[in-house]
C-alpha cells in the first residue's frame, strides 16, 4: 500500500480527501494495531501543524507537536506539562502527539483531560474550510468523534485565563508507561475571596471524559465560605453523575477514587 508524506497542509487535505489514507501523528496508537499494509498520511512534515504560539486569548498548539515539545515549551501551561510528563516514558513522548491523543477518542487520553478542564477548543480543517468547536463537543460517545471525512485536527486552543491554581492526579498501575486507570483535574480562579471560575474533569472513568459545567456552576460566583455551605450538595451531584463503565478495575473502586480526588481537590482549594 502507498503512504504519503505531504509537505504542506493543503497537500495533506487534498490527499486525505482523495485517498482515504489514515492520518499518522506519532504512530504510538496506530502501531499497536500492527497493520503492516496500512496506507498512512504522515503529518510530521507539515509546518502548519507543528507550531506552538500565543495570541491574546489562547495558547495554540499544533496537532503534530509531540509530548516532549509541549513539555519543553515555555508557553504551555503548567497543568498540561504536569499531565504530559506522567505519560509513558521519553521514547514514547518523543513520538506521541497532541493530535493523536485527541484523535484516538479514548477517555484515558491524559492531555485531552487537561483540554476538557481548561475549556479548550479544537480547530478542525478540511479542503472545504475550517471550524472551531469546544473539545467537549468533539467527543460524541465511546470512540466516536465529530471528525468529518476529509477533516484533520489542526490545533488545540487553550484559554490563557481561568486556572490560576490547579490540581492534577493520575492513579495508575505503574508509574511510567501505565495508561491511566483513572485521572482527575481541577482548576480554580478566585478574585479575592470569590470563585470566578472552577472546573473539574474525570478521565478513564466513563466512555468519554466527564466534564459537568452544570454541576461546577454550583460553586462559581460564590465566596469560598459560601461554597463550603453547598459542598455536600456538590459532592452528591457528582456522586450521581459519575457512572463508571465496566473495566478491569471494579466500578465501585473507581467511583470511590473519583470522589476521594474530588474531595481532596476541594480541601486543597479551601472549599
Amino acid at each position: 500500500m502507498v503512504s504519503y508524506l505531504p509537505q504542506s497542509l493543503s497537500e495533506a487535505l487534498e490527499l486525505l480527501a482523495s485517498t482515504g489514507a489514515i492520518p499518522y501523528g506519532g504512530g504510538t496508537d496506530l502501531m499497536v494495531e500492527g497493520k503492516n499494509d496500512a496506507s498512512y498520511l504522515f503529518l510530521h512534515k507539515i509546518p502548519e501543524l507543528g507550531v506552538i504560539a500565543g495570541d491574546a486569548d489562547y495558547i495554540r498548539i499544533g496537532a503534530s507537536c509531540t509530548f516532549t515539545r509541549v513539555a519543553d515549551h515555555p508557553l504551555c501551561p503548567g497543568i498540561l506539562k504536569e499531565a504530559i510528563l506522567q505519560i509513558a516514558a521519553p521514547a514514547i513522548r518523543n513520538l506521541g502527539t497532541i493530535g493523536g491523543n485527541i484523535g484516538n477518542g479514548s477517555p484515558k487520553a491524559d492531555s485531552a483531560l487537561i483540554f476538557f478542564v481548561t475549556g479548550s477548543r479544537l480547530r478542525l480543517v478540511s479542503k472545504r474550510g475550517e471550524r472551531i468547536i469546544p473539545i467537549k463537543d468533539f467527543y460524541l460517545g465511546r470512540r466516536s468523534l465529530d471528525l468529518r471525512p476529509g477533516e484533520l485536527i489542526a490545533e488545540v486552543l487553550i484559554p490563557k485565563m481561568g486556572y490560576d491554581r490547579y490540581y492534577y492526579r493520575k492513579v495508575g498501575a505503574r508509574d511510567a508507561l501505565a495508561i491511566s486507570r483513572l485521572s482527575f483535574a481541577g482548576i480554580i480562579k478566585t478574585q479575592g475571596d470569590r470563585i470566578v471560575n472552577l472546573a473539574t474533569a474525570f478521565g478513564a472513568v466513563s466512555d468519554v471524559i466527564i466534564r459537568r459545567e452544570d454541576i461546577d456552576a454550583m460553586l462559581i460566583g460564590k465566596t469560598l465560605a459560601e461554597a463550603k455551605t453547598v459542598r455536600d450538595n456538590y459532592l452528591a451531584a457528582y456522586a450521581e453523575a459519575i457512572v463508571p463503565i465496566r473495566g478491569r478495575v471494579s466500578e465501585k473502586y473507581r467511583k470511590r477514587v473519583c470522589m476521594n480526588l474530588l474531595r481532596d481537590f476541594l480541601d486543597t482549594m479551601n472549599i
Partner: protein, 164 residues
Amino acid sequence: MKPETVLNADVRFTLNGKAVAWLGSPAAPLLDVLREGFGNTGVKCGCREGECGACAVILDGELVNSCMVAAGRASGAEIVTIEGYKNTPGFEILDRAFAGAGAVQCGFCTPGMILAAACILRNNPHPTTEEVRKGISGNLCRCTGYNAIVTAILAAAGEGEGKW
C-alpha cells in the same frame, strides 16, 4: 504531487551514517526493517507494544521505540542503532561503565539502555539519580533491578564530559 510526497515501496533514510532505501511497506515497523531488512540485530524485540524499550533507536537525535515507528515516518531521517553508536567515544565510556558496575546480565535490554543513557547525557551531562531513573523509565530490565544501571550511567556522566 511532488515526488517526495508518495512513499511507495521506496523509503530513503540514513542508517548509522549511510544512505539506505527500504523497498518494503512504508507501514512496516521500523523495528523489523532494521533487524530483517538491514541486519541490525542489536535492535531487540521484546514486546512490539512500546512498553519495554528493547527496540529503542535514535531518530533525528531523539530516543524512540522502533516498534512504534512506521518505516515511512523515518523517510529522510537519521537513524542511529547500537551498531552505529558502537563507533563513538560515548559508547566506549558507557560500555566500560556498564561493565564496571555489573549492569549487564543477560544483555537483552542493554542496547536500548545504552542508547537511552546516551540521550539522557546528551540533553543533561550531569543528571541526578532521579533524572537518570526517569530517563530509563521506558527501558525494562528483568535481570538487574536497575540500581547497577543507574550507577553505571552516573559513573559515565562523571567521566564523559563533552563526549555525548
